[in-house]
Amino acid sequence: MKDKVMRAVFLAAACVCIVCVALICVFLFVNGIPAIGEIGALRFFLGTRWKPGQGLYGIAPMILGSVYVTAGAVALGVPTGVLTGIFMARFCPARLHRLLGPAVSLLAGIPSVIYGFFGITVLVPAVRGLFGGSGKSILTASVILALMILPTIISVSEASIRAVPVHYYEGSLALGATHERSVFSAVVPDARSGITAGVVLGIGRAVGETMAVVMVAGNQPIIPRGILEGVRTLTANIVIDMGYATDLHRRALIATAVVLFVFILAINLLVSPGSRPAAK
């Protein structure tokens, strides 16, 4: 009897996850899709002006904004992260690793407000000083996001390089290749699918990041003309207007969240093990 009751309780708990996803989807789509219809799909997705006061709800600047800062973060963070991962897996002395390993996981744990704060107090003035302008720009946001995705990319790269069978490396050494060449030509290619998964994970984190970006990106809902211009991302758009938006404005934000949700879902589908293409 007691067994049956608790079994039902466990089952119910397991279903909570599904219910939550269903609820979130229903709330987003039921509110968001009609809003897109009301605004007009073309004017919503391709509209270049976001002026809720005048009934203009174009999110093209925000879509581009998210793409730009993410691309910037990838351009800066991925090479640094992957190379650091390679260093930690194959070049790092054990004693240094005992310091660097925890330091990287420390970076992963730092809250986004602190990254944002660091951005405001250090990076924004630095960019302003070097390049002029306000300092709040695509470049600044990209640097901060690159920092934030660094630990993910480092740890996933390191783990997948360590998972490569050691005889690949030894086989290459035995042919007279140098340590560097063996690592880069025999080991890293075999870890490529794992590294790719880490990069995709990092992209997901960059697209979804909100507070740090809001604090350093300037947030102008305008299509930027250069990397020193301010920019507003999809996440920023939601959080900036959420406090006071009502009616269609609010539903336009929900529609923005739908776009973001679909973005993230598509990115996650790329990395989930079932659908990941064998990258070899």
């Binding site: 909570v16 650091t84 140098t178 996440t235």
Partner: protein, 271 residues
């Protein structure tokens, strides 16, 4: 050939150096700028615009953490128990739950914030409880996944031994499996604490920004991360912001280190 090897080596070392220097600079900057401004009035029992005390925010953070985990903890652990101990690995429900958990863990926190505002704030207003429910959903997949892994790492011989003595499934779960999995489950809880403490976007429009201790579950509260955001946004209180950032950072570092230590102990133990 030689030259290429040297170039590769240089690139690897440069990247590692950039990473290391960045970490040292980021952490060092916050410490150096924050430490001198850690004044006692920042920990005054009551927040005023003069003292900018973060103590209420720290207490609110603790309350928020406990409330959120009171919801997601049992649900996540029980769900893991169902998936590991009851459901067959290939059942459609188990696959559905896994997919749902993966989806949940990918959703950006700002979307949780928006969802919480639409659902919980509509019912309870900007409040501790609205924030707690929002964060409970957000931490659920993390707690569930770590609990699942911990339960899976419990050797089947323990279960056999218990069944062999005539114990039922439920007794085996509560007396043997869950206690044996406790360190792993705890590590997941602490990891969730770290996420809750560091969260801003999901809280700012669900729990609100009132910098006082709550009267009840329906009072609006400001956690330390939100406090940090508000302070740095106002840009008037730079010194206090540095100090607050330092406290927040140290807090989260300690929490994550605790989780790692427990997880490490667990892997040694299970070998």
């Amino acid at each position: 050939m030689k030259a290429r090897s040297a170039a590769l080596r240089a690139a690897v070392y440069a990247a590692a150096a950039i990473t290391a220097l960045t970490i040292v600079f980021l952490v060092g900057y916050i410490v150096v700028k924050g430490a001198p401004h850690l004044e006692p009035e920042l920990f005054a029992p009551k927040y005023t615009t003069d003292n900018l005390s973060m103590l209420p925010a720290i207490i609110n953070t603790a309350l928020m953490t406990v409330s959120a985990l009171l919801i997601s903890g049992p649900v996540g652990v029980f769900a893991a128990v169902y998936l590991v101990e009851y459901a067959s690995r290939s059942s459609r429900l188990a696959r559905g739950v896994r997919l749902a958990a993966e989806t949940l863990s990918g959703i950006p926190s700002v979307v949780y914030g928006l969802f919480g505002r639409l659902l919980f704030v509509a019912m309870w207003g900007l409040s501790l409880i609205s924030g707690a429910f929002t964060l409970a959903i957000m931490t659920l997949p993390l707690i569930m996944r770590t609990a699942q892994e911990a339960l899976l790492s419990v050797p089947d011989t323990y279960r056999e031994g218990s069944f062999g003595l005539g114990a039922g499934k439920l007794r085996t779960v509560f007396a043997i499996t869950l206690p044996a999995a406790a360190p792993g489950i705890l590590a997941g809880f602490i990891l969730s604490v770290g996420r809750i403490v560091g969260e801003t976007a999901a809280l700012i429009y669900t729990a609100g920004t009132v910098a006082e201790m709550p009267k009840n579950a329906f009072s609006s509260v400001r956690t330390l991360s939100v406090h940090m955001y508000v302070l740095s946004n106002e840009a008037l209180y730079v010194n206090q912001s540095y100090a607050t950032a330092l406290v927040l950072m140290v807090l989260v570092i300690f929490i994550n280190a605790g989780s790692n230590a427990i997880a490490k102990k667990l892997t040694i133990h299970s070998l």
